[in-house]
């Protein structure tokens, strides 16, 4: 009997399982190359989560996600599949919002982001300009949008509710209507950055105590005390974009793009079968460039404005003693006190740096130059590197 029992136990212990379902191979997870995204459209505004093991960012949608102009996504620091964050605000909705530039509060509990609204001059069958524009602001037949308004939304990161904790409407300058029906478009430098490269010029930044947000409306840097109906302009920050509040709360860094010289011309919006134009456009267009931006510093109370020289899309080190920003095709660490700078290796064409909470990793949006088969237009992808 003992032998039988032993035999039975042996047989029972040898039981195997039916084959499981097919598993899709994802060998890029835990890939150490540092490249996290491959989107053929531009990914921007990386921001670390509290544990420094994932990055949030914004990107135009791609296959596998709902169609949207911009979504808030999360990707593991070691690479892998992205997932939409804040399901309640961007999944399963009758109208897919255009979201961008998520930023996480210092305590990791709250998120602020922008919902964007654009306008297209789609009502015309043809836009005819008086002379070929040297640097066209956009194609008004509807393939490009003209940023018109943004809403700064704040909510707990893990909220599944439909409503936000707070929200602020942010008008964007650049388009006016005259009483005669003429349309006047002015493509300011921030417009060009947004339209051409998708740069999140309005990106907000939390104050260390998570009660205020600094952001840009393209025209100025503003500080909003969360919950208040309006924000306050920081004086002297005209054209300021992409503010970054220092961890010690004493300063806000921002970049001021190069404005250059504008050109103006007139276009007409035409309708099929009509001889006379339905509308007249007066366009003023500034040149596009991501170089020659000035890195600026200002105190949250609007005093102490100063320049740290060339620099774009800044972020702070944890000790608030240095700023990391794009300068001369690369990222540099710039001392706030002395202004001296040190190039950070392997950051060619890197923008919008974000330092992990533990200070060990640096994430950034790297510009992939145009010309490859999969990136004919050039774009930005999210990368991460040890810091």
């Amino acid at each position: 009997m003992r032998r039988v029992l032993v035999g039975a136990l042996m047989l029972a212990s040898a039981c195997r399982e039916a084959p499981g379902p097919f598993t899709v191979e994802r060998p890029f997870e835990n890939d150490t190359s540092g490249r996290l995204t491959f989107n053929v459209n531009s990914d921007h505004a990386p921001a670390w989560n509290a544990n420094s093991d994932s990055l949030y960012y914004s990107a135009p949608t791609f296959p596998g996600l709902p169609p949207a102009k911009g979504m808030l996504l999360s990707v593991p620091r070691r690479g892998g599949t992205t997932k939409p964050i804040l399901s309640a605000v961007q999944l399963g909705l009758p109208r897919q919002p255009w979201l961008a530039a998520p930023v996480i509060s210092a305590d990791g509990n709250s998120v602020a982001f922008f919902e964007l609204t654009d306008v297209k001059d789609e009502e015309f069958d043809l836009i005819s300009c008086a002379r070929p524009p040297a640097a066209p602001a956009r194609d008004t037949i509807g393939t490009h949008s003209f940023l018109m308004e943004a809403v700064l939304r704040v909510r707990p990161l893990n909220s599944g509710g439909a409503s936000d904790a707070a929200r602020l409407t942010v008008p964007v300058a650049g388009r006016t209507y005259s009483e005669t029906g003429d349309i006047q478009n002015t493509a300011h430098p921030f417009h060009r950055l947004f339209e051409v490269d998708g740069v999140p010029i309005f990106r907000a930044s939390w104050s260390p105590d998570a009660t205020r947000l600094a952001y840009s409306d393209g025209s100025n840097i503003r500080v909003w005390t969360i919950g208040q109906p309006a924000s306050v302009i920081l004086p002297g920050t005209e054209d300021g974009i992409m503010p970054a509040w220092s961890p010690d709360g004493t300063a806000i860094a921002f970049s001021k793009p190069f404005r250059g010289t504008a050109s103006s011309f007139t276009c007409f919006g035409l309708m099929n079968g009509q001889v006379l134009p339905a509308a007249t456009f007066t366009r003023t267009v500034y040149p596009f460039t991501r170089q020659n931006s000035q890195l600026m510093l200002i105190r949250p109370d609007g005093t102490g404005l100063r320049s740290l020289g060339e620099g774009d899309a800044p972020t702070w080190t944890a000790d608030s003693r240095a700023i990391i920003a794009h300068r001369a095709l690369s990222l540099f660490s710039i001392s706030v006190e002395s202004g001296t700078s040190t190039q950070i290796p392997n950051t060619l064409n890197a923008f919008e740096p974000a330092l992990s909470r533990d200070g060990r990793f640096l994430s950034f949006a790297r510009r992939i130059e145009a010309g490859t088969e999969t990136n004919p237009k050039g774009n930005y992808d999210i990368w991460v590197a040890p810091f």
Binding site: M1, R2, R3, V4, G7, A8, M10, L11, A12, A14, C15, R16, E17, A18, P19, G20, P21, F22, T23, V24, E25, R26, P27, F28, R35, L36, T37, F38, N39, V40, F62, P63, G64, L65, L73, V75, G79, G80, T81, T82, K83, E373, T374
Partner: protein, 904 residues
């Protein structure tokens, strides 16, 4: 009869008859004062026929002499039998390498693939302890539906030609099961376990079987009362294993064009990983199990023998489908439940001048089938080597079985059903869209339930001269429900539902007369009638069409047979012939409309016909038996079977009304020759047979319809779909399995069969898309082996003995092809068919980055992190090719099981 209440005193001339002995191998005890008593073992008793036993007693001066035990010689020929039949006794059943009784039937000459002598599946009837049973609703599609465990049987008798008037509702065969009864002297039990979970991967298919049986006296219910119980539980990780497992098309499987495309796909470094990305020796999503429980109680009360039995079986398994193979959650599955309660009472008088019996049998049978989407929570429960005590749960089964009026008024989809789609979890990602469904569920839900109350009364008279006279009557009352919802995921889609109450009545009389010179004549007459019990509108496409009531259909079936020895051959040769008129009610499912498109308003394709008549035929058979020596005998039989009225199974597409209605307009004939051999030496027993036959006739199809009115009814006969020309079988028993008192035992079975015809489009196009047979499927063969070694007593267990069992299936690892595509004559499609499927949906224009949930590494042919539309296009061809996997075209896989048996 030893261990049975049957006994009789012989006449002065020593002749005797014992009537109504249960079929099987029985022991006969003979005693006479002044003679040495004899226990004659293994006397073969056949159902409904007499068995001759001749005993010479030896004088003994000892007053109480020791009993002499003799084993009855196995009879190699039966010169008194005019029918063709094959008997497998319980001892052999327990030694054969089989898991189910249908595998035993396959070892009968003339039976292959469930077809009896070229007949369609369902043209046979099953008799369980004298009660004639059939899945009358859908036998041609689902088989019997009720299953017994091989270890619960005393005997299986398969009649393929010349069945007597006692049997009806069959055109091609009768399968008679005699169940075991408990030993009235002591309890005997047996436990057997076999499994292949220890076997190497190439022999492993995930099978585990447990068999328990026990029988003995129930003394507190009086002398002679016995109980027998049997449980069979089988767990299967792959309930329908196939020789190539989950496989893909290879260049050798297909035509030249597609073969070249496959070679290119497999050779290119970029697309190599897209070729056959999912293969496995065990087919996924085919988990299942079987549970059969049987109990029988016997009690003699004077001249009355009572027995009652209860059978309950449950077979359930997932069903692999190619389009859902990458769906991690939802799959089709099916569950069969069968229940049979049987009560028999037989009053028997035994005299030296003859034996008379009257019997009353009542049976209640329920067959319940469900086909639908398996609820994934089914697999959360207890699972022992693939066996689940609990029944499969199906999504929305409660809803689907809800009152039909209430269900329709709710108008909702079946709960849990979701539109199939999705691309995740497939190796082809978005390129597999519309080819594979990785999300959502299959869309069909169907079930059927048929209850039958059967009562029959019979009387029989057996004479010492070997003649037998029988008469009886049978009534069967049915309650049938069927439900089918093809688009169960769509709210508002309508199910096909029917509930009706058919009935059948039959009466028969037969005489089996044996003359003094050994000639046997059999005369019988059977009258059978049925009605569908449905009032119906003659033409469902015309609401003004009159409503008719179905009427009783009656068939008269004379049956004649004769068997006699050839003079001068000393009983070593015999000749036999028989003629039968046969008929069976058509499957009840043909009474019902069946639809495509799930809408009774617009998409009637086949209009059921509740007024269908009997399917009828005639069989003629002649044969000769010869005993070459005491060890070898052969039988040669020729037969011809005409099938005059068969239900036309397919109608022309788009036909509605009278033209699109089932009828019994098809016909055919089967003729053939069968050679069987029986041989027996010490420790060796051999049965072998070869059947050569031809089945031709008219079977309506989509392009040729025998029922067309006013047009061009098809009248050209083709080989019937079940026209298998050759089939051979061998059963070899060695050692203990052959009756030898040895520790070892082995049984080997082999079946060899030619293929079925392949109806292909007529060369040159033909007219009306006609088809022709230019090709037959390839030959198939399978060899199984079971061996055991008896290790004797089991320590620590009184009266226990144990043995180790090896059980191997398809030991030659034949990759038998069971089906082919009719248009190509291979297991694969044409290149054009693959391309058509690949191009059915446009490729999404957007590139897929690596971080996308839709990104699949294998689609990124250059591994640059982005799947371009061009890469997706290449992958889509690979996906379409993968969808055409030929997994289910192949036969059973090779398996090796190890186990043990304990008898106590």
């Amino acid at each position: 009869m030893d261990k049975l209440p049957h006994r009789v005193a012989s006449g002065a001339d020593g002749r005797f008859v014992i009537g109504a002995v249960p079929a099987g191998e029985r022991d006969l005890r003979i005693a006479h004062i002044g003679y040495k008593p004899i226990l004659l073992t293994r006397v073969q008793v056949r159902p409904g026929r007499s068995s001759d036993v001749n005993i010479a007693l030896e004088a003994s001066p000892v007053e109480v002499a020791a009993i002499e035990v003799r084993a009855d010689r196995q009879r190699l020929i039966e010169p008194e039998v005019s029918t063709t039949h094959e008997t497998v006794v319980g001892r052999e059943l327990r030694e054969l390498p089989v898991d189910a009784l249908d595998q035993v039937l396959e070892l009968t000459t003339g039976v292959s693939g469930g077809h009896f002598r070229g007949g369609r599946i369902g043209q046979e009837v099953y008799v369980v302890d004298g009660v004639e049973l059939k899945n009358q609703l859908e036998a041609s599609r689902e088989g019997f539906g009720l299953e017994l465990s091989p270890s619960s049987l005393e005997e299986v008798d398969v009649i393929t030609g010349g069945f007597g008037a006692a049997y009806g509702s069959a055109l091609s065969g009768v399968v008679s099961y005699t169940t075991r009864r408990g030993n009235p002297e002591r309890w005997e039990s047996r436990v057997a376990v076999t499994t292949d979970h220890w076997a190497p991967a190439s022999w492993f298919r995930g099978f585990t079987g447990l068999s328990l049986s026990s029988g003995g006296p129930v003394s507190f219910l009086g002398p002679g009362a016995t109980l027998f119980a049997d449980v069979l539980a089988q767990g299967m990780l792959d309930a329908d294993n196939r020789a190539r497992g989950l496989t893909c098309l290879t260049p050798d499987d297909v035509g030249a064009e597609l073969a070249a495309a496959i070679q290119n796909l497999a050779a290119d470094a970029g697309t190599r990983d897209l070729y056959c990305p999912f293969s496995s020796s065990i087919i996924p999503n085919q988990r299942g199990d079987k549970l059969i429980g049987f109990a029988r109680f016997d009690k003699p009360i004077g001249k009355l023998n009572l027995n009652a039995s209860m059978l309950r079986n449950r077979t359930q398994n997932e069903l692999y489908t190619s389009e859902f193979k990458y769906n991690p959650t939802y799959h089709l599955g099916q569950r069969f439940n069968g229940t049979l309660a049987n009560v028999n009472a037989e009053w028997l008088t035994q005299k030296a001048t003859g034996s008379t019996s009257f019997s009353v049998r009542t049976a209640l049978m329920r067959l319940d089938r469900y086909l639908g989407v398996v609820d994934p929570s089914t697999f959360d429960g207890i699972d022992v080597a693939g066996f689940r005590p609990q029944s499969f749960k199906f999504l929305g089964e409660d809803f689907a079985r809800k009152d039909i009026i209430e269900q329709i008024s709710l108008g909702s989809a079946i709960p849990g059903y979701v539109v199939p789609g999705g691309v995740a979890s497939s190796p082809f990602g978005t390129a597999g869209a519309g080819i594979f469904f990785t999300e959502g569920t299959p869309t069909i839900a169907s079930w059927s339930r048929s209850d039958v109350l059967s009562t029959d009364i019979a009387a029989a008279r057996y004479t010492p001269g070997g003649s037998m006279y029988r008469a009886g009557t049978t009534a069967k009352l049915y309650r049938v429900e069927t439900y089918e919802r093809a688009l169960a995921h769509l709210a508002g889609s309508m199910p096909n539902y029917a509930r009706f109450y058919p009935a059948t009545l039959a009466a028969f009389g037969e005489a089996n007369i044996q003359t003094d010179d050994g000639m046997h004549f059999e005369f019988g007459l059977r009258v059978e009638g049925f009605r569908s019990g449905i009032d119906f509108q003659a033409d469902r496409s015309d609401f003004l069409s009159p409503v008719l009531s179905s009427s009783w259909k009656v068939s008269l079936m004379p049956r004649v047979g004769a068997a006699f020895p050839i003079p001068g051959m000393q009983g070593r040769s015999g000749i036999r012939f028989n003629y039968s008129r046969v008929a069976q009610p058509p499957d009840f499912r043909y009474f019902l409309d069946s639809t495509i498109g799930d809408s009774l308003r617009t998409d009637i394709r086949r209009q059921g016909n509740p007024n269908l008549a009997f399917e009828k035929g005639s069989t003629y058979e002649g044969g000769i038996n010869h005993l070459f020596s005491d060890n070898v005998a052969m039988t040669l039989a020729g037969f011809r079977k005409t099938l005059d009225n068969l239900v036309s199974g397919n109608l022309q597409l788009g036909d509605v009304g009278q033209a699109g209605r089932f009828s019994t307009g098809d016909f055919g004939k089967v003729q053939g020759v069968e050679i069987t051999m029986r041989a027996r030496w010490s420790g060796i027993s051999l049965r072998a047979g070869w059947a050569l036959q031809q089945a031709t006739g008219l079977s309506s199809g989509n392009e040729n319809d025998s029922t067309l009115v006013g047009a061009d009814p098809a009248r050209t006969e083709f080989p019937l779909a079940f026209d298998r020309r050759h089939s051979g079988d061998i059963s070899l028993f060695l050692g203990r399995a052959a009756g030898l008192e040895k520790a070892w035992s082995a049984s080997l079975t082999t079946t060899v069969q030619s293929g079925y015809p392949l109806l292909r489009p007529e060369a040159g196009g033909g007219t009306g898309g006609r088809r022709e047979v230019t090709q037959y499927l390839p030959w198939t063969s399978i060899t199984d082996l079971r061996a055991s070694w008896d290790f004797g007593d089991l320590p620590m267990c009184v009266r226990c003995s144990w043995r180790v069992v090896f059980d191997a299936r398809n030991i030659l690892n034949r990759k038998n092809i069971l089906a082919m595509r009719t248009n190509t004559g291979t297991v694969g499609p044409t290149l054009g068919e693959v391309q058509l499927l690949a191009n059915a949906l446009p490729i999404p224009p957007a590139s897929i980055p690596r971080e996308s949930p839709a990104y699949v590494l294998t689609l990124d042919l250059d591994r640059d992190g982005i799947i371009t539309p061009q890469e997706a296009q290449a992958a889509r061809f690979a996906a379409a090719l993968d969808r055409f996997d030929p997994t289910l075209f192949f036969g059973e896989a090779r398996q090796l099981r190890l186990g043990f048996e304990v008898a106590f």
